[in-house]
């Protein structure tokens, strides 16, 4: 009896040993390294060089980025970017994972200093395709990856790799001068749109901006997935990322995205849907991507100050030259996000759930009914009490904060000039 148990126990252990060796021998990254070695050797004419290449050990490669607090193993598969396997960081291969990094980007961002995930995101420690957090650039690539790699999002990993324009968000984290750099057009556009469409009237960016809603850099860009309710997004589970959550706010009706509980079905008190305007008539898909890119650039990162490249100071009212005071006022209007509620150029009040009338005032219609002093007081004091259309309904999410501590002096005078310049002339009843 014991002899048999001993015998079969040994058989099982032996089988497990074989399986362990087999598993270790056929790690998914190993064939990539072998193939890369072969391809490199085939391109070499000198026998000695071929011998050295073929003698290179098959092993996990990793870069320990002490400054950045990252450990990258991406080059385990991406040998074209491994400074040891490919000292020139250049090769003639065209397909992943063998091809070298495009352009001469790595000359200024050596992989031993910056690694990969600092810019691309993903899970640097992983050595499998799925766990690395690869993100398909489109539906076609997703389908192809599913077929080839059984692709799915990495479990419990909140920072999948960035693709397309979104990758520019990483550049902005270090490059204060990003607005003058080639290739960062989406991020630049996103920053411009954020101002022009009045996002800063309600939101803040690192503490600066309106007090009505969340800080886009400190909160939105760092929102954990566990705090996002994706149930109204229509996204497949595999697409439920922070990036898509942000992007959907520009391409979908925010009321549908964040419907709240206006009838108090599930809460003790009614809750208004999102206060965010529906931007679908104002923003294209490209605009949405640009805004998302810029907002993602606000994500916190453990980047030492020595990695930062300083940029020019943000232009101020005093540093800019304007053709007229009304033009200066347009800058003030954009800078403080007035368009967030009052629309582009004051032309259309945006909706405000359960606000009497449902819309914020369109300034072009109302500004001519104010004297200069009245309008100044209005802006300075704001409208903190917002009346409800349905008294039993939720508190309207938007209100006008007092601006007296932010817009003053010449900025206020310029803003008033601008507002009166856009006000529609009204029929004079007095004749």
């Amino acid at each position: 009896m014991y002899r048999k148990l001993f015998f079969w126990g040994n058989v099982v252990l032996f089988v497990l040993l074989i399986l362990a060796i087999a598993k270790d021998t056929f790690r998914p990254w190993m064939p990539y390294q072998r193939a890369y070695r072969r391809m490199q050797a085939a391109a070499e004419a000198a026998p000695e060089a071929r011998r050295i290449i073929l003698g290179r050990p098959i092993q996990i490669k990793q870069t320990i980025l002490t400054d950045l607090g990252e450990v990258d193993r991406c080059i385990t598969c991406h040998q074209g970017m491994d400074p040891i396997a490919t000292p020139t960081l250049a090769n003639a291969f065209t397909d992943n994972p063998h091809k070298a990094h495009p352009s001469d980007f790595l000359k200024n961002h050596p992989p031993e200093t910056f690694g990969c995930v600092t810019c691309h995101r993903g899970q640097g420690l992983s050595t499998t395709f799925i766990d690395a957090g690869h993100t398909p650039r489109d539906e076609a690539q997703k389908a192809a990856w599913k077929k080839k790699h059984g692709w799915e999002p990495a479990d419990h990993w909140e920072y999948p790799m960035l693709t397309g324009p979104y990758l520019q968000a990483s550049c902005v984290k270090c490059h204060g001068d990003f607005e003058s750099l080639h290739g960062l057009e989406a991020a630049v556009r996103g920053k411009r749109l954020l101002r022009a469409h009045g996002c800063m009237g309600c939101h803040q960016w690192r503490g600066e901006g309106g007090p009505v809603s969340v800080d886009l850099a400190e909160e939105t860009a760092n929102k954990p997935l566990s705090r996002i309710d994706f149930s109204n997004t229509g996204l497949d589970p595999e697409d439920r990322t922070l990036l898509n959550w942000i992007r959907l706010h520009f391409v979908k009706d925010p009321w549908a995205l964040v419907p709240g509980d206006p009838a108090a079905k599930y809460n003790a008190e009614p809750i208004a849907p999102s206060g965010m305007p529906d931007f679908r008539d104002e923003l294209s898909e490209e605009d949405a991507a640009a805004l998302t890119t810029y907002i993602l650039s606000g994500q916190s990162a453990n980047i030492p100050h020595t990695y930062h490249v300083s940029g020019p100071k943000e232009p101020t009212f005093q540093s800019l030259r304007f053709g007229s005071r009304a033009q200066a006022g347009k800058w003030v209007y954009d800078q403080y996000g007035c368009a967030g509620c009052h629309g582009l150029n004051g032309k259309g009040g945006r909706r405000n759930f359960n606000y009497t009338g449902g819309l914020e005032p369109a300034l072009v219609k109302s500004v001519a009914t104010f004297t200069r002093e009245e309008l100044r007081e209005k802006i300075e004091d704001g409208v903190m009490v917002v009346t409800k259309e349905d008294p039993q309904g939720p508190t309207p999410p938007l209100y006008m904060p007092p601006w007296k501590d932010k817009i003053k002096g010449e900025e206020m005078e310029a803003l008033l000039d601008y507002l009166f310049s856009i006000g529609e002339k009204q029929e004079e009843w007095g004749g």
């Binding site: 009040g349 009497t356 009338g357 449902g358 819309l359 914020e360 005032p361 369109a362 219609k365 109302s366 001519a368 009914t369 104010f370 004297t371 002093e373 009245e374 007081e377 209005k378 409208v383 009490v385 009346t387 409800k388 259309e389 349905d390 008294p391 039993q392 009204q426 029929e427 004079e428 009843w429 007095g430 004749g431």
Partner: protein, 199 residues
């Protein structure tokens, strides 16, 4: 100053509840909706001295068209969102008539009734103050006061303010208004301070 425009603003909010367009298109709706009532409650939560004055006036000697406006528009449409007492007891004073007539009346008042230019909490004479405020109410999203109706309301307010606040009635108006201000200051000192003394 602040008081005057805040007054208008609250009035506008009231007019607004003219979310009326959503709730009812009928101008003569007898029973005010819960929304209007809530709007009124809101207006009263941020009171003005005007609100504590009479809600009705004797308009029987006014021209027929002005009387009609008082009965069918001011006490119906305006009163949906705030009590009629708010405009009726306002310090706003705009001369009735054409632009030229207004200018002439203002000059005349300055000569004959200089007292009405001395305390803006009692009289706030301006050439187009009611016009601006009525238009401001109308510009509010959801306000269903049509341009022709707004014009009539404005005509009523200018006519009425001139009739009850100037000339032989100036002293009576001053007494009534000062009493309202005194009562308001006693009852709502913080609000009084906010409206009349902060700026």
């Amino acid at each position: 100053m602040r008081g005057s425009w805040v007054l208008g603003w609250i009035g506008a909010l009231a007019c607004l509840s003219g979310g009326v367009s959503r709730l009812s298109a009928e101008d003569t709706a007898a029973a005010p909706s819960a929304s209007y009532e809530a709007e009124k409650a809101k207006a009263l939560a941020n009171p003005y001295p005007n609100d504590f004055g009479p809600t009705l006036i004797d308009a029987s000697k006014y021209p027929a068209e002005i009387q009609a406006t008082y009965k069918t528009l001011l006490t119906v449409k305006c009163a949906r969102c705030h009590q009629a007492s708010r405009p009726l007891n306002s310090q706003f004073l705009e001369p009735y008539g054409t632009k030229a007539e207004k200018a002439a009346k203002l000059v005349e008042w300055k000569q004959k009734n200089p007292e009405i230019f001395k305390d803006r909490a009692v009289w706030q004479p301006e050439a187009n103050i009611w016009e601006r405020y009525v238009k401001r109410m109308m510009a509010k999203p959801g306000c269903n006061i049509q341009p022709a109706e707004g014009r009539k309301i404005w005509q009523f307010l200018t006519y009425d303010s001139e009739q009850r606040k100037t000339g032989a009635n100036a002293a009576g108006w001053e007494k009534q208004r000062r009493q309202l201000l005194a009562d308001f200051k006693a009852k709502h000192p913080a609000r009084y301070n906010e409206l009349f003394e902060t700026r």
